[in-house]
Every structure is written in C-alpha cells, then in structure tokens.
C-alpha cells in the first residue's frame, strides 16, 4: 500500500535528518571570532606593497632606481633618495604610496630587479579620511623592526 509505505518512509527520513543535525550539534564550532582572532593570509595574498629590509645593513633593500615609480600605471608611487658618505649607491629617504589610486596590479613588484618590494598581508584597511591611505612605506619599515 503506497499510502502506508509513504508514511513509514517519510517518518523514518525525518528521524534520519534529526540524527544528522544532532551529530553536527556536538561538533566543534568553525567560527573565526573575527575582531578577536585573525586569519593568516596565504603567501600569495596581494595587499598593498611594502618595502623589504636588508638583513645585513638593517636598511631598506631599495636602491632608488625608480623603476617601480616609472612602471606604475596609476602613478601612485613617489620616492626620493640621496648619496651618503661611506654607503655604496643611493640611500632611500622617502617612499610614499598613494593607495587611493593603486589598483594592486603588481607591476612595481614585478619590475623591481632588487627584490626590494613585496605585497603586504594587510587587509584590515578602513578609514573615513583619504589622507589615511597615503602610506609612508619607509616609516612603516622602520617602525616594523
């Protein structure tokens, strides 16, 4: 009789469903408590760029060739450098990234022959002021240790 078998299979399936949800009930939560916990960004994550420190001298690896500045299609990088006594090559004095116009294309990272810039893992960017997005990357590097 299809009527009774339908009632039986229907009722049975309801209990099977309850069993599945009960199993989930006792499993561990998968929520990341966001403001208290943070995700580790994967290695290929593309945040805004940042400078890399030279481990020997403790200064920026950048030699101020200006390639990144030239390749940037949005013209958002501006850097200055100077000659100093006893130091080979130029020393970086400022490296300003205007992140408001950056499109994260990564041309600067690709064009750098000295491996001096990379993508940062910063993703918590929020502000109501435009000026907060003009990053002084050299200061950032010095503050970072």
């Amino acid at each position: 009789m299809p009527y009774f078998s339908e009632i039986y299979t229907g009722t049975r399936s309801l209990f099977v469903g309850l069993g599945i949800t009960l199993k989930e009930f006792f499993k561990k939560s998968v929520t990341l408590q966001y403001p208290h916990e943070h995700l580790e960004m994967p290695p290929r994550f593309r945040g805004h760029i940042e400078l890399i420190k030279d481990t020997e001298s403790g200064m920026a690896k950048c030699v101020c060739c200006g390639m990144c500045q030239k390749t940037c299609p949005s013209k958002c990088i501006s850097l200055t450098g100077e000659k100093r006594e006893g130091v080979k090559g130029k020393v970086l004095t400022s490296y300003i990234l205007d992140f408001t116009t950056c499109s994260l294309c990564g041309m600067c990272v690709e064009s750098c022959k000295f491996g001096a810039i990379t993508f940062s893992k910063d993703y918590n960017l929020a502000s109501t002021r435009r000026s907060d997005y003009v990053f002084d990357l050299l200061k950032r590097l010095e503050g970072k240790k």
Partner: protein, 332 residues
C-alpha cells in the same frame, strides 16, 4: 482561610508571569545558541559571560524603540493583538501541574481550559494580521488560521483518546495515574488501559503542538523568507517583543502539555527516586530542545503539503486511534 487562598493565588500569579517572561527571554537565547550549535557556529557570546546577558540587551533595545502605529492600521485591533497572544498563554499556566503541590488551580477541566485558551492565540494572530493592513500580514494570518484549524482537529482527537484512557480531564490526576516508573507513562504504557497506538498518538500530538505554536517547519505565521515577518511585519519595538514572548510562552505551554499528558509530568522515571518539580522541568526542557532541534533540521514545508499532512494522514490516523481505543476499552 480566604486570605491565605488569596495570597497563594497572588504568589502563583507573580510566579507564573515571572516564569513565562523569564522563559520567553531565555528561550530566545537558547534558540539562538541552539541554532548556532546545529550550524557549527558559536551564537551570542559578547554580552556577558557566554552571551548570557543577551536577552537583557535585546529587551532594552526593544523597549527603547518608538511604539510607532503606522498609518492606515486599525488602531484598536493593532494594539490588542499582541496582548491577545500573551494573555491566553499566561492564563494556561494556571492549570499546568508543575508538581503535586505546585499547581495554581486544581481545575477539573484543566485540559479543556488549556485547549480553549490555546485557540484564542490564533485569534490574536488573525487580528494582528488584519489590523496591520499589510498584504503580507494578511496572507500570513489567513495561513495561520487555516493551519491552526486543520491541526486543532487531530490534536483534540488524540487528547480525547487520552482522556478516554485516563478517564479524567484534571491534569493533576492524569499525572498522578502515571506514577511508579517510566513504564507507567502514557507514552509507553503497556497495560490494557490504553490502546497500543499511544506512541503514534504522541507523535501526532507533538506534530500538532509544533503546528499550533507556529514553530518551524510549520511557521507560516512568520515565514521570514516569504512574508517579511508574517503577522508581525508592521509591529515595532515592544509590540513585536510581546508577540515574540507570547510565541515562546505558547511553546512552554505546549511542551508542558506534552510532558503532562505523555511523559508523566512530575513523576520520576524510576520508582525509587523522589517525584519533584525537577523531573517536570527536565522533561519540559527536553521537549523544548527537541522543538528547537526540529526547527534547525527541517525546511518550512509548502502550505498545501501542510494541509495534506493534517487532513490525509494525521486526522485519519487519530480518528482510527480514537475508534481503536474506544473498542479496546470496551473489550478489555
């Protein structure tokens, strides 16, 4: 004599209102925590330890909202609808036997009284939907009424079968008959006094209870994904809050009724353990947990399937059970 009786009643009144309101507040919390655990989330946890003060925060938020009465609504019906949902729910507690002594009134027709008040709650939802003058609210209330009418029948039929077997409508006596161990509970009573279909009757009663309290998968009154918030669409602040509290108070009533009728109320499951209100609360909260569990397991069913379930399955089976019980009692 009269004054002690009066004081007793007053104490019960205060206790019942506090119980209903406290349960309403903390069942929302339990619901949210339960939903979270079933979906492997954490649920509210920011307000107080483990989010235990969340109901308080919600209450303050609801109470500080403006009690807006939208243009075009029926001003009287709009305002009395939440009260009509809350008051019968609180009234029904009067007849619920929490323990042998802890009963506000030993009413001989307690079961009948609870059913009478339970049907007023439908009227509250209907009035709320109608008074809101909102198309979604009206659709929802029309659904609620046909749903509740359809499910009142099997619910009452199973209640009648039970009353035939127990021979009383006094809830205290119904519980008293189920004493002496869990094998004497009406759910699995294996004596000649009740028909062998009582577990089925329990399932039917439980399903109808879900439907009468407008719980998922039968939550047509508040089908969030289809009808905004159903009957409550136009209600702001505490108007909505009272509706919500009424809903949860109804769930407590429904769970208490299931406990009393089928699970032996305050009777302990094993004969050597003392009977107390703790057993009643444990059984009641187990039923409420099942109600929450069911809500987060099943999707909302289509409306015609809901009615099919009632008219084609629940009513015939409960009618058959009624006849079987009648014959059973006559023969044995």
């Amino acid at each position: 004599m009269l004054t002690t009786e009066l004081i007793r009643l007053l104490a019960f009144l205060v206790g019942i209102i506090a119980f209903a309101a406290g349960n309403a507040a903390y069942l929302v919390y339990a619901e949210r925590k339960g939903a979270a655990f079933f979906q492997r989330r954490t649920g509210p946890k920011e307000v107080g330890p483990q989010g235990l003060l969340q109901p308080l925060a919600d209450g303050i938020k609801l109470m500080t909202k403006q009690l807006l009465v939208p243009e075009g609504v029926d001003p009287i019906l709009f305002k009395i609808a939440p009260i009509m949902l809350m008051v019968p729910a609180v009234m029904s507690f009067v007849a619920i036997p929490f323990s042998e002594q802890l009963t506000a009134r030993h009413i001989d027709l307690g079961l009948l009284m609870i059913f009478a008040f339970a049907s007023v709650n439908v009227l509250g939802l209907l009035i709320g939907g109608w008074g809101s003058a909102n198309k979604y609210a009206i659709i929802a209330s029309a659904r609620v009424v046909s749903q509740n009418v359809a499910y009142e029948i099997p619910m009452l039929l199973t209640a009648i079968t039970l009353v035939m077997a127990t021979n009383t409508m006094n809830l205290n006596e119904i519980v008293a008959q189920q004493g002496g161990g869990f094998w004497n509970w009406n759910l699995i009573r294996l004596t000649w006094a009740a028909s062998p279909l009582t577990p089925v009757a329990f399932l039917i009663f439980f399903t109808c209870m879900l439907c009468e309290t407008n719980r998922a998968p039968f939550d047509m009154a508040e089908a969030e994904s289809e009808l905004v918030a159903g009957t409550f669409t136009e209600y702001p602040g505490m108007g909505f809050g009272v509706f919500f509290m009424g809903e949860y108070a109804n769930i407590v009533i429904g769970a208490s009724l299931v406990t009393v009728l089928f699970l032996g109320g305050w009777q302990s499951p094993l004969p050597f353990l003392p009977n107390s209100v703790v057993w009643f609360l444990m059984k009641m909260y187990a039923i409420i947990f099942t109600v929450i569990w069911i809500r987060w397991t099943y999707p909302r069913i289509q409306f015609y399937k809901l009615l099919n379930l009632s008219w084609k399955i629940l009513i015939p089976i409960s009618l058959f059970n009624l006849i079987l019980t009648a014959g059973w009692l006559k023969v044995f």
